[in-house]
Symmetry: D2
Subunit: 492 residues, 4 copies
């Protein structure tokens, strides 16, 4: 069968249809999206290219499923989500492989994503039973104020291809835990992970209509619009680029919908001269090149203080030169392809621009023709006005600038319309607090490139986003309701 | 002098200029807005009709003031806000009178608003020093997660005329406490209260640029647009109508700004047959007719269970018939005018529509010609399809419908695109919890019409708003920042 | 084998030895405690009767295990506790049976206890990763305040026989989750459940020394004293009678140890004339007779308003008359024996006293000779000065008093030195809030007899206890540490 | 008059009587305590030496006042406490002077204490209206869980002479805010500040019986016993020595009262070789010598890493040599006397012991005969086994030890039965986190000696205390009550 080509132990995890109201369905007009393995450029399979009509049906289904699901106890949803979590762990190898197949990241990263992805189901299951409200002391003798949390309603979820699984569970896990129902638009590049999640949800006992998955490519504009404007939808949550975020946000405004947005970053990575340089180099390798630089919290601009600049640059270049590029399923491969050749073109543009302005290529610097691969690259002496210092590269390109003072580098780091993550290395406890507070970002790694866990508040400031995911992120899917109990016969 | 005409003990509270960067200024083109006393239709005075240029200057000033203000300690801001609060209490009579003069509400309500308005300064002063972050247990031995709260930046504040003072302090108090700086667009009908607040803020020691007030009437569209789109602004907060809210929200989307919105309501008020009818009538009087029905949490649709319907209707009509209408400054006046004659026209339209569909006028029913006054009105037998059941009247019109069952009335109450407040009366503890949970609103009064206090979360669901004010509302003006401290030399 | 006599599927859950530092051990002097099935009075088996020396060894072991266990990540402990939880569910039938064998409660209640007991492991696993500290805004520009939670140290746990398993997990689960190590003194009547928990903990990966179990009978005074006075112990937690609680508390004072105490209750159960009497009778049956009245939150004093008194009494007597008494392992048995004949004697004393003062026996009223069984009893017209209104019966005796007014019955209910749980039935929402607030107890059931869940704060006021278990109870096992980061180079 | 001798602007703040049930009263037997100015050894005045009978009356009064006070709204108590706070600020000079007169600390410190003391009234006023309870999601469809906070009841407060005012407000402020009533036993050395607080409380509108002050000296044992054992008292809070703490704790156990204890410390102060030595010396001066070393968080053991030891020692000795000793009311005096000559004797014993074991006196080293003054002293080369390393000196004696490694010094620092505060200086962010986590104390100053503010959790671990004051300390005066609302007619 077609599914068996994926090489999974449980081929029934592979679905070639969308998922609406508990049923696996094709597009009404029979259109399909061809999904390609970016490492081989071969077609993995197809999924329906759905449109407005299917989207409306999915929203209707979610809306019909809402009353019953929202009134289950938090403990009931907790138990179902934990079962769902167990299933993700049980199928760990398959789900990790599937991520690698459609996204291209090395298998270790694919499995790592599955672990990370599943962790959101566990986390939000546990959060569900802790959606505490408040009793607020009343200034009126005869009244009592109780605040409760209630699920917000139907949620539209729109997600990117760089984390085909985790970006869904981080939203869907919270939404389901809160008692919401969902309509998910997965990215056309990586729909299979999304569909596998829907299959496991069903096995875990998630009722029909609570999760709906609507793949789309050609009709993305009208599908997105419906997901943001339909009156039955009460919340839109999106991870993706800043320009698309603005469009969706504007659509959501038309019905005053609540939104959560995780948009682009342009993370500074600063190495002060009082840093542990070994640790800084190690962190730069991970933080810059994970997913071949295609994560929204990847370091994008690396600033190194002048006295250690040369040392840092040469050590980083040496590490990068040792990377093994190739098909992520193969043993020993450390870095895979980009998602498609358009992505590689942007990297090339950034390099050309920087080189034209005086930068030096220390290693890498070009794409592998007729593939989605781009050689991991380190650029030195990148001038401040290079394009890469203005916008996310989203590729395997480490760009190094030199700086002199703390004041200067903080200013450079903050000279951006976005602010998701930022990193810096320094041993001085005063500098650590100062720079951490002054970086205009949502998340700071001080002496570490590893900041992301289910437990922490993930999100950005400025044009990087609205709201926070993980941590207390279930709040984003709940309304706060005040109940004033009056007329109690209590006086004075 | 012109100011002395207001009859205040401290005439220097009256300002006829806008307030930018600590200076009292006119519009550059000299244009003015004429502000009228709605009870007498006489001009109270003028304020500048500012435009784009002044708005930009105000935003620039707020942006320049932000770094220093945001780095003061929370305790410092706490102390300044408490001084500001003391000044509002010291000038209580003047500020209450001023509200009555420009808004028309009876003097007792004017003073009541001042008390309420000042309470937000006290509340948020106390909140400032309690903007706790978190230490989150790390799953990584060698990292520690600390979450801090930081002020979001420059805030645009747009407010309505029905609470000329309190709608400002509820936002500005929170913003200042958080460490933000502000640009305020007061309503053209009631700018004097806003300007008096700016004067008192200055006396309290709020630095130049931290509060800016930009009155406008003719240029409201371009001023609003600038306040929502200027990149230096990081947050927009608005109280007003739902249609305007949608416009502003859409503008804010263009730069992914955070928004808080308190838009229109259409509050149901339900009386079950197991209610204490005396208390229900009393509450309906207050809840429907406060501010002559011009508050966003006023009851708009009154549903009474059939067995007590006639009794409730006659008791309510009797109470309403006893109201004393007139200039709110005069002794014994219980209800003042509407804000202007346009408001009265909408009430008349709602009455005409309901009567045409079969409703009965029990008392009142018409405007007083050539004034802004409308006779407090009670309509009986209002059919479900009447216009008043679809949209806010925002006037002194109590509309009574009959219902039979709990199920039925909850459905009627929820048949609305908005959901701000809702009220119901029943003695049964089970019904109280059931109906309180099922009403699709942000705030429920059970056996009471009095729900609003600085301490509670004020806000709505559906198209009634985004975010909550009062209570923990300072959060709306702060960013959550994660700091991961890594490289600590701690292992296992 | 001896273990096989218990009839478990996994006989290796039965241990006849104590558990110290990961090893199953006998008492040094070879002494043993004979454990009896209260339904049959036959010996189930023996466990060591340990003393001072073994207790010191256990405390030493816990103290040695503390540094490593306390420094594991919260996530690590979370995972181990969840595995422990899974094992308790896997062995559900065995563990339920074991509880019935040693405690006597019907099998359904034995299994119910196992479910309840396991729920604490799940709950506290989930709490472990949520032991958030705080970042507190500093009034000093150059300092930052971070508050962290750390495990308190070695914990002594002393538990009763009425919940042989759940009273242990409620404490041990929290302690382990927090990072503490423990020494447990199980009750001599029901040590096997405790030892089975130690076995499962080991299978789940809890390291040696983290849990130690020291059964004792003859040496209980010196063992208890060591557990409360040994300097290595930092916390004592006890569930049992108020007199013993006072002794242990006094011992703990000698080294300023923190204590948590759940001592005796004397729960009032009030039925107002506006109650749903059916529901009240149903609740009284459960709330009074669960565990044959041997739970600390059992209703002890039933007050019924005069107009419904006769009706309530006859309905309750009818229900009680239908109970099936017998060996809890047998099909259809609703109520088992008391723990031993001493317990039955106290019930008889309370009946004799009440009858002597004028009470009527509606049903039951005597023990079954030569057994631990006592006939479930309803007493009517019990005078206020009866012994049963002063102290807990801890047996199957429902004592009914008549009252006239809310004021009167609240006063009666509060006329007690203890205050654990209280119950009342009334439909009026005002009365519900009033009485709930005025009852001097830690836990109130309004229109319900079911108040206990892992999620809620369990505990009493007055002489019923110190601290709260369940809910946020992990706090009781943690120290709050303030870290002030100064000298940061931040000024103004 | 006698009062005028104190030289206050408002002599009516000086009271020579106890305060019971709103009345100023003498001891029944007419006995008096003579209160002495420690700087001059002259009598300041007398207060009654009360006993068991007066204590019982005070507890009765507090018990009678409890119902009404506990049922006022939190907002009402907030407003009264803020008025009380304003009065303390209004009488700042007088209250500061009074502290200096009876305690001996320099006037700047006396005034500083008044500011600190008043800050607790402000803080807890603000906390009163934030004593939030919870709404906990119920696992039962038909129940709702609400948790409320209620005042615990009558509180016994026992305080020391080193902060005659602040140690009272830190407890009483929290107690009153919570809705409790209080009986205060001030120290016999410094009762006037306590009585002045009672006077201001009355002026602020605190009702009769809510605060009672019972000075005692000869009868301290029986008064303390009654305060700890009387059944009407529900909570005991004490600041003082560890031995007395144990006695009181043991007494409180007899009726299972809740206790809060702030007992002795023995604070380590560590200077690592990567510290900013200037800042470390500066901090040592403040942290060791404030109040002439008579605060419970004073540094007691100073450990300096070997490479900077000599430098640190000489710089510290130089600073200390420059102190100006004398009557705290005089201009330019930096350090006052000890509280009495017994205190000086202990300092001398510690010096003699250390010198006998090999320590060097760098500066100071002896008392001024026939006074309460002791010369500020720096000891070098103090051996680990010196008495001063085992117990608090509570005097102006800086004791310096040398150490080599982080591991070693953490072990030395933790080798103590108590653990209140600890300090260390190091610039390395990893060491800061490591050492901060590993010190077994309740409060850590990292690169600062200033840790105490109303906002932070003040308290210790091990034998230094139970509970936390300041910050969320109002919780210590409240019971947590669960209300389960059942029978709601909600199913599934």
């Amino acid at each position: 069968t077609q599914a068996s080509a994926f090489g999974l132990k449980d081929p029934s995890l592979i679905k070639f249809q969308g998922f609406i109201d508990g049923k696996w369905v094709d597009a009404k007009n029979g259109e399909k999206i061809s999904v390609t393995n970016p490492a081989t450029l071969e077609e993995l399979g197809t999924v329906p290219d759905m449109g407005l009509s299917e989207t409306k049906e999915a929203i209707d289904a979610a809306s019909r499923a809402f009353p019953a699901w929202s009134r289950t106890t938090a403990k009931h949803r907790h138990d179902i989500l934990l079962k769902f979590y167990s299933l993700m762990k049980e199928h760990h190898d398959d789900l990790g492989r599937l991520i690698t197949l459609e996204n291209g990241k090395p298998l270790a990263e694919g499995k790592g994503e599955n672990t990370y992805s599943a962790s959101f189901l566990e986390w939000f299951a546990e959060e569900a039973v802790r959606t505490y409200g408040e009793h607020i002391p009343s200034p009126i003798s005869n009244s009592r104020n109780v605040v409760i949390k209630q699920p917000i309603g139907v949620v539209s979820i729109l997600t990117p291809w760089n984390f085909p699984s985790a970006m869904i569970t981080r939203k869907m896990g919270a939404a389901l835990a809160a008692g919401c129902t969902t309509v998910i638009k997965p990215p056309p590049e990586t729909p299979f992970s999304a569909l596998a999640l829907a299959e496991l949800a069903t096995r875990a006992g998630v009722p029909d209509g609570v999760i709906n998955v609507v793949p789309t490519l050609k009709n993305v504009v009208e599908v997105g619009k419906e997901m943001c404007e339909n009156k039955m939808v009460k919340k839109v949550t999106f991870t993706g680029s800043t320009p698309v975020a603005k469009l969706l946000y504007g659509m959501a405004a038309s019905t005053l919908k609540k939104v959560s947005i995780e948009a682009g970053g342009n993370a500074p990575f600063i190495v002060f001269d009082d840093a542990n340089v070994d640790e800084a180099v190690e962190a730069a390798v991970i933080c810059k090149f994970r997913g071949s630089g295609q994560t929204c919290i990847c370091a994008n601009r690396i600033y190194v203080q002048s006295s250690i600049y040369a040392d840092f640059a040469s050590r980083l270049a040496e590490k990068v030169a040792a990377f093994k590029i190739g098909n992520g399923l193969e043993e020993g491969i450390t870095h895979g392809p980009l998602i498609h050749s358009r992505a590689a073109e942007k990297v090339a543009r950034h390099i050309d621009d920087a080189v034209a302005k005086g930068a030096q290529i220390l290693v890498g610097g070009k794409a592998i023709p007729n593939t989605s691969f781009f050689l991991p690259t380190v650029l030195s002496d990148v001038p401040i006005d290079a394009q890469i210092n203005k916008e996310e590269t989203f590729g395997p390109l480490a760009s190094l600038c030199k700086f002199e003072t703390e004041e200067e580098v903080v200013k450079l780091a903050n000279d951006s319309d976005v602010g998701l993550a930022g990193y810096f290395f320094s041993r001085d406890v005063g500098r650590v607090w100062r720079v951490a507070e002054r970086l205009e970002v949502g998340m700071v790694g001080a002496n570490t490139g590893a900041i992301s866990q289910a437990v922490i508040p993930f999100g950005g400031v400025k044009e990087s986003g609205i709201g926070r995911e993980g941590g207390h992120g279930i709040e984003e899917y709940m309304n706060t309701k005040l109940i004033v109990f009056g007329g109690l016969g209590m006086h004075g």
